[in-house]
Symmetry: D2
Subunit: 304 residues, 4 copies
């Protein structure tokens, strides 16, 4: 199996005004992404509000996405749940669908030891033929995937890759260094602010939240990286840096981090006519009107 | 509705050697508890390994418990999941069963604002006739239920009580003070080390992990508290303090906190012939033999 | 040596409008405390803003206090600094003054192992004849003094006592239980909300921040505790609970925790005519006028 | 004033067997650094054990360093203390010495609000003519310097630069982006693992702990960066990555993080004959012999 590579946006999940999955908007968002030239799609991640979705919603999203993508690019799906057995319950039905990889966090809720975290991934790997990507997202899971655990899991072949959303490139770089350039594992970064750097230190690909709204910037950045064009990389990255303010735009209005980030991305997608509403999963707070104006200003500043 | 009161052990979930729910052992444990005179039972809590259990296992545990208890004492059930919608999915089927209260944590995984946490409980309350008990367990949820949120939820009647497993009695006391003695809410403490104190400052009842192995001590303590017998309270509490070492007995052997606590309780129940195995849910580590000897020593020191 | 016992307020440090130690106000505050019948005084603690004070200021405060107290009650002094050698520098000059005990935190700034924390206290103990009280204040030091470290230090006689300001009585109770009633060590609690409980589980005394403004309540509570009068204990504690709102009164106005707590206590002392200003050390923010009105309301609610 | 730039090692403080500052070894270490071509020296930082040193020791280190360096390169000095007034006490005497910049953390010990942190730096800036470098080292200070605070301090000219030892390049990059290439501020990175990247995203210079033992690697890396030689940058960085294991070499032997890092660096300097002992400040634990063998192996693997 070759490594996964390129831009693999962690898709938002469009909802209708009643908070149900909006299939039409999801298809429109997928079209928008494929037309931008992304190399893959990741559904049911944190940006996809997977933690807020029921199993029925989750299945619908995977079905719609895999049908619509129809093999043009690989589709990753998150199997988010708090413990090994419950993740395995997700993995069971996900493994029957036309996806190419499963994205799995360490257990959250309880405090586990390092060997127990290894045991978690090992038990899940035994239940599926699909490659597993370990999802290192301490902001949600409560602690960083320890470097030693990541190394052990990669060396044993239990996992096929890492999605590093830890915010720190230091451990990720040590992993890249240990794994080497001939590795078979896919080392993918969730970085927006450091997307160019992640590629430069050897990441195979990017899974950046901002790619929901501007996949073109990341696709161009990745292409420029491949052809070694530092100037183009820099100008894409510069535009990305201007967009980062979206994530915290809701904070002055009292929104929590998740509501600020997800609501910001969805509002911009709605504004661009790609999805129908900016509704986020309850109990996340919606942006007030002044917050939407702040988002408008951020986006209007960026040339297209 | 009157307040819930007395000793309501957070039941362990006995597993067989294959890690499946062991119904016979569960019935035996329930018998042991009822014979000790407990005033209620709490299944599917953290001590019950609920987070590790599939929905099928969870349902089986509630069915067995409610059938076996047959109304002798109230049965609480946890509806543990990471987000509002997913908790509601649990609440839906749990509400059809013969339980008397639902125990609900704040969302974990994502960072929510205070109003979003209020929204979480409000949305759940709208879907069930059962009283909700907010489960304040920062060691697992990742942060303490803010005092202001707890007060707001109690005052609005959204929740009917609190299970305080925060380890700090300070906020709990402020709640007890604000709610007053004529309150309708049930303020319950998860404290083992401070069980006597929790009652003295006005807690209605106790949900202590150590009650799994020595319900008699807590039942006697509660009875002594009710009749104002300080000496008997003190002697029960003294014995409880000696048992607390169970929780950390696995730590010198590298076990994580959950494995140490749950494995310790189960080994003692097995040793006493109440349950068949000390198996804990994967990927939790099992005690090595020296660890079991350490547990033996702790228990052998306590007179019965 | 007998144990330290009773109410030992952690004195505020009155400042003049230029932020210098206000000796007259300090003497007035000491008079107020001694007239209320306190059993000791603790200067240069967290409530005393010691961390904000230069060595000259610190020395002046100890000199004024010991002269003014003139042996009527024991005086404790904090020797707050971030590392062993720098604490020893404090201890050196403090040991020449007429104080009865030194209060010492674990090192802050760097992360130390448990044996290193033991080494810290051992090295300090070797430099002074004065008894050491370990100051367990994780809110400032960054982590709790580990129970095992506290036990080891007490058993070896390196320290003579503990001031528990951890907010959790659980570990403190385990210490009390292990040390036993015949102990020689002084186990003192910084609790306000749980002052009665701390005494009941065996604490020798109290070092509560609110005693700055209402030493009478704590002195009465302690006396009632000694004579076993539960009703009087309860009524004192009830009034104390009403005062606790002082600590967070500044938070709605954007004040940090320290500014809210220290500024609140000082404003009330100023209002009562005991000290001249409510000035706190820079860069702590001062209460806005609406914040002072909130403090007035809290205090006016409490009968004298 | 032009920006500070290049490699500015955070010097270790050599101690003799009695734990006193070893002036001869310090001079030898400075010679070693200057011969390697470093562009500056930073004394009294975290790597310099400043927090463990008395004021007399600190002054001696600055005196020796500035005399010995004699203006060949700029010398930065840390003014580490826990609060504004106490830092000002350090700044007062440091400002009379022949140093070129002061390195200042946010207050530690107490929790301050953002405006209070701004006030801290503002008050210090008012007391010295020397440029201030804000020292962002959350591992020791307990929390990250908030991005907004850093921006405000840079924009107002209160501080002249940042030393980013936060481990995360994301905020640092946002600062670099906001400040722009024409900035007057010096944005310096404490990164070892990401030294090349820090330069590439625009950092003016590096303050990396590993430069103590291999300044040549960082000097070569910086020179290669300036001349745009990506291959040489990569080969220097690759060797640096191999050295990073020094920092955690003590952890399998139970050493705390500080003891592991500082003891590791000093042992290697001793082994190379540059300093006389590997003694670290009490109460830090020393490496056991097996730990020293582990360090030998790490260093022996790196070609010179």
């Amino acid at each position: 199996m070759s490594r996964f590579a390129g831009v693999i946006p962690p898709l938002c999940t469009p909802l209708d005004v009643d908070g149900r999955v909006d299939v039409g908007s999801l298809e429109s968002l997928i079209t928008f992404q494929l037309e931008a030239g992304v190399q893959g799609l990741f559904v049911l991640g944190s940006s996809g509000e997977a933690i807020y979705l029921t199993d029925d919603d989750r299945r619908k999203i995977v079905d719609v996405t895999t049908s619509y993508v129809a093999g043009q690019v690989p589709v990753f799906a998150g199997a988010l749940d708090a413990s090994t057995r419950r993740v395995i319950d997700q993995v069971r039905w996900l493994s029957d669908l036309a996806i190419q990889a499963l994205v799995i966090t360490a257990p959250f809720y309880a405090n586990l030891s390092d060997p127990e975290i290894v045991g978690h991934f090992t038990a899940i790997a035994a239940r599926t033929e699909l490659p597993l990507i370990a999802y290192d997202i301490p902001g949600n899971v409560g602690r960083k995937l320890p470097l030693r655990v990541a190394q052990e899991l990669l060396e044993s072949g239990t996992i096929s890759g890492i999605k590093d959303s830890s915010g720190s490139l230091a451990d990720f770089r040590r992993l890249l260094d240990k794994q080497g350039e001939d590795r078979r594992s896919s080392l993918l970064s969730g970085a927006d602010i450091l997307a160019d750097i992640a590629l430069e230190i050897g990441a195979d690909g990017l899974i950046p939240g901002l790619a929901n709204v501007r996949p073109d910037l990341f696709v161009d950045l990745y292409a420029a990286h491949l052809r070694g064009d530092k100037n183009d990389v820099a100008s894409c990255q510069h535009a990305i840096l201007d967009l980062v303010a979206i994530f915290s735009a809701g904070e002055p209005f009292g929104l929590g981090r998740h509501a600020s980030e997800l609501g910001g991305l969805k509002y911009i997608l709605q504004r661009e006519g790609i999805i129908a509403t900016a509704v986020v999963s309850p109990p996340l707070t919606r942006y007030p009107d002044e917050g939407l104006r702040a988002l408008d200003e951020i986006v209007d500043r960026i040339p297209r």
